[in-house]
Every structure is written in structure tokens, then in C-alpha cells.
Symmetry: C2
Subunit: 278 residues, 2 copies
């Protein structure tokens, strides 16, 4: 990420410094880790799946910057530090998000990620669809609409499949496409795994927002309830949400069981996502 992001001493310096602030300030880097782990199953060279994962992480980072803006979640704390628009200003944060999204697609075109350029074009298509109005941005729009409403578990699933699930799935799909062509059954297993852990990720997030504190999270805790957002905790209760997370983890593990030891790293990541704090 250090190398992919423009240096802060190149004009426009303030924008570049703010982009680096937004991306390099920590984060679990789960999406790149998933891209690399999925890439291993297709014998992808690590340097390629790392780049593909970095492109996905740039999309994720841009979405956090825009999500924290006053007109969206209006949050002041992210990863234990002031959010981008607090540290800089709103206009700069808007441009940071915009430029990070452009950079994500530039990265997918700049590096050779597969011998076959049509596969690389397919990666662009996958990431663009995952980020766009029928993916992440669409999920955010559904989220906005849901404030003040009580959603059932199925409606929540639809929202989160878009909002967080789409980009997590894209991370695995891109990682795989840095390597050899998998047979359809293998691809399907990885994709089912991706769906399960994408959803589990959100369920755990909801539990943490309700049960953890701001210092541990590095972002404002208890926001969902205060902003009257429907969550898995409000729909199922904390215990029910935890059960669902464990079920999704088991389902994810089942999906990759056929890979045996080769799927070990994906399994560790599923554990990391679900077991994080409870």
C-alpha cells in the first residue's frame, strides 16, 4: 500500500497526504488476506494476489472515508484516530474517497495479474460490480432507507450481502483469478465460503457495536442503537446473533472442507473473523 499510494510530496500534496492517512492508518486488512488465501488455492503467485487484494482494500478504504462523512454516519473516530474529514476537511475527504476508488481500478490495470488479459478485465468487472449500485454502494443506500425500521433476518441478509458481502466476495474472486483456472465446483466452494464469512463479518460487527466499547473498537461503539439502525442484535438478540455467527462459520468451514489442508489459511481467516472478540 505504501508503494501503490502516491507519495505525499507529489502535488496535490494535501490530497495525497490525506489519501495516505486514510489508507495507511491501520485496519485488519482482512480483504487482502482473503485474496491471498484464495489465491493460494489457485496457485497464484503471492505478489499478484497481494496487488489484487490491495485494489480491493482501496475500495474498502474509500467506502469508510465516505461512510464517516457528516451526511452519512457522521463519525469522528476510525481505527482509534480522527476520521479523514475531521483530520482534514469534508471536501478533502470527499476527494480522498473518489481518488481512492479511481486508484483501485488503476491498480487492476497497471499490474500484470494474469497471463491472460481477458481474465484481468474480468477482475475489473467483478470489482466494479461489487463496488457499484448493485453491490456496496447499493447496500449503503438500502442501509440509509432502513434507519428507523425493524428488519427481519432475511432483509438484513439482503442488505449486508450488498453492503459488506459483495466486496469481500470480490476479494476472494480476484485472488483466485491471479492463478490457474479452477474447476466450477472449486470456484463454487470458495464463493459459498465467501458469502458465509461476509455475512458472519457483519453479524460479529453488530455484536461488537452493541457489546464492546469505543477504546477496544477504535471506532464509536453503541452507534447502531443510538442511530436506530436495524442490526442482527436488534433482530435476533445478542445471543441469537452469536449463534448465527457460529453457524455461518461452520457453514463456511464445510464449504472448504474438500480442499483439506490447502484450505487451512482460509479456515484461519474465518476463525479470525468470527472469534474476533467473543
Amino acid at each position: 500500500m505504501q508503494e501503490i499510494l502516491p507519495p505525499a510530496d507529489i502535488a496535490p500534496t494535501r490530497l495525497h497526504a490525506a489519501m495516505r492517512y486514510a489508507v495507511l492508518g491501520g485496519g485488519k486488512r482482512i480483504r487482502p488476506l482473503l485474496a491471498c488465501a484464495a489465491g493460494e488455492l489457485a496457485d497464484a503467485p503471492l505478489e499478484r494476489s497481494l496487488i489484487a487484494g490491495a485494489a480491493v482494500e482501496l475500495v474498502h478504504a474509500y467506502s469508510l472515508v465516505h461512510d464517516d462523512l457528516p451526511c452519512m454516519d457522521d463519525d469522528v473516530l476510525r481505527r482509534g484516530k480522527p476520521t479523514c474529514h475531521v483530520e482534514y476537511d469534508e471536501a478533502t475527504a470527499l476527494l480522498v474517497g473518489d481518488a481512492l476508488q479511481s486508484l483501485a481500478f488503476q491498480v487492476l490495470a497497471d499490474y500484470r495479474l494474469n497471463e491472460d488479459p481477458t481474465v484481468q478485465l474480468e477482475m475489473t468487472r467483478i470489482l466494479a460490480a461489487a463496488a457499484g449500485s448493485r453491490g456496496m454502494a447499493g447496500g449503503q443506500a438500502i442501509d440509509l432507507d432502513a434507519i428507523g425500521k425493524q428488519l427481519g433476518a432475511l432483509e438484513l441478509e439482503f442488505m449486508h450481502m450488498h453492503k459488506t458481502g459483495a466486496v469481500i466476495r470480490a476479494a476472494l474472486q480476484l485472488g483466485v483469478r491471479c492463478g490457474r483456472l479452477l474447476d466450477p465446483a472449486e470456484s463454487q466452494r470458495i464463493d459459498h465460503f465467501a458469502k458465509c464469512i461476509g455475512l458472519a463479518f457483519q453479524v460479529v460487527d453488530d455484536v461488537l457495536d452493541a457489546e464492546s466499547n469505543t477504546a477496544t473498537l477504535g471506532k464509536t461503539a453503541g452507534k447502531d442503537a443510538r442511530s436506530d439502525k436495524p442490526t442482527y442484535v436488534s433482530a435476533l438478540g445478542a445471543a441469537g446473533a452469536k449463534d448465527l455467527a457460529r453457524e455461518l462459520r461452520a457453514d463456511a468451514m464445510q464449504a472448504i472442507a474438500a480442499f483439506g489442508r490447502r484450505g487451512a489459511r482460509l479456515g484461519q481467516l474465518a476463525d479470525f473473523i468470527v472469534v474476533r472478540q467473543f
Copy 2:
């Protein structure tokens, strides 16, 4: 554009309606026209350069939506109608811009625009660079920094080469890449033409903002002076700015003279850009 944009009856419906509102509400479509005219010089099939031009127009449309937001230019009128955040709301307008950018890159991957997929990847790279922090978004950042300052003609040129010039250049470069490979001298001529008219476009915009009225423009007139923005009119005076626009047009025409009659359509577009209102 009608076909490329997601239908407004597909979820999330409000977001899709707002995307269509932002893109289909008029506009001169200069960038697609330039893409098609440049494509002709490379014998590009029109249906391909139209798609490439549409991708560029989506980037342009997203930038207008974000530019009009309260934290940027805070404008309420665009193409004679309420801006996107006024018609919908700020959060939706933010997501509209984000999703339109994703869609631009999806379009470049979804359609077959050149027999050679590496050329199509190059189009992605060109558009991403033109939109990003060293292109349009960077130009916006320089623009923000320039408020209240007096810039000379060279500094203005640097700002506008990024802010509007980069995407206009990309339109022509993408159009050309929908056809056969041009020789380097031909490419250079088209690129010089693109630089000249990109700059002329901004010079004329500055003159129109100073001399025209809101009804004619369809956007708020006189904003530059009120918001203390450096413009070509503030740097050179209205007469000086008009002279510069005419010089840039002559320079542009000179650049494509070698194409003879084949460059006629590009010449007409240069006329349209410069002669628009004065």
C-alpha cells in the same frame, strides 16, 4: 446512457432513480462526441467509441454530482434543474457519484471495445489515471486550495489541465483506442488537439460564468467571483480570456490540419466549444 444505467425499478430503486436523474438530465455530451470523433480517425466502429465515450461521460457526471455538494461548490442548480442532493438528499448524492464512478469502469470491462484485451485494459488505466488524484480529483483539490488566491495564467493552466483537461483528453484517447493502432505522430496530433480544447473549454466556462446569466447557463452564474475563485477572467480580463480561447482554438485546428477532411468533425467540436456563447 439509457441502457447502460440500471433501471429505476430495480433495487435499490431510489439510488437508481437518482443516478438516472443525475446523468439523463441533459448536458452537452461533449466528451462522448469527442470520443466518437477521435474514434473516426482510427476507423473505430461507432458503437464502440460511443460506449467508451459513455464511460467517460459517467465519470464526468459523477464529478458534477460531488462537485455540487454543500462541502464543495454548494450549488443548487445544474442544467436548469435542482442539483442531485437538492432533489434527493446529500447521502444519496454521495452514493450516486460513487456508484457512477464504479459503473464507468464496469462499462469499460463489460463491452468488447477492441479485439485486443490489452488495449481495453489500457483504456481502464487511462480513465482511472484521468479521474484520480493526479487527474480530475487532483485538479479539484488544487482548486479548493486556490480559493482566495490570485493565480497567474500558468498556474491556472496547471489546475485546469488536471480538473477538466485530463478527462477530456481521456475521451479522445479512449475513442482512438476503439479503432486501429495509429502511428505515434497521429496520436500526438490528437493529443495536442485534446490539450488545447480542454483548456479552451475551461477558459470559455470562466467567461460565461462572468458574462452570462443563470437562465442561459442552467447553472448559477457569477459564482466564481462571489466565491473568490481565481479564473481566466480574473487573471487576464474578459477580453484577454476571449483572445486566449481563440488562440487555443487556432492551435487545436493546426494540430489536426494534417488529417484534412477526416478531422472535420473534431474541428466542428472545437468550434462548438469555443464559439458556444461569444
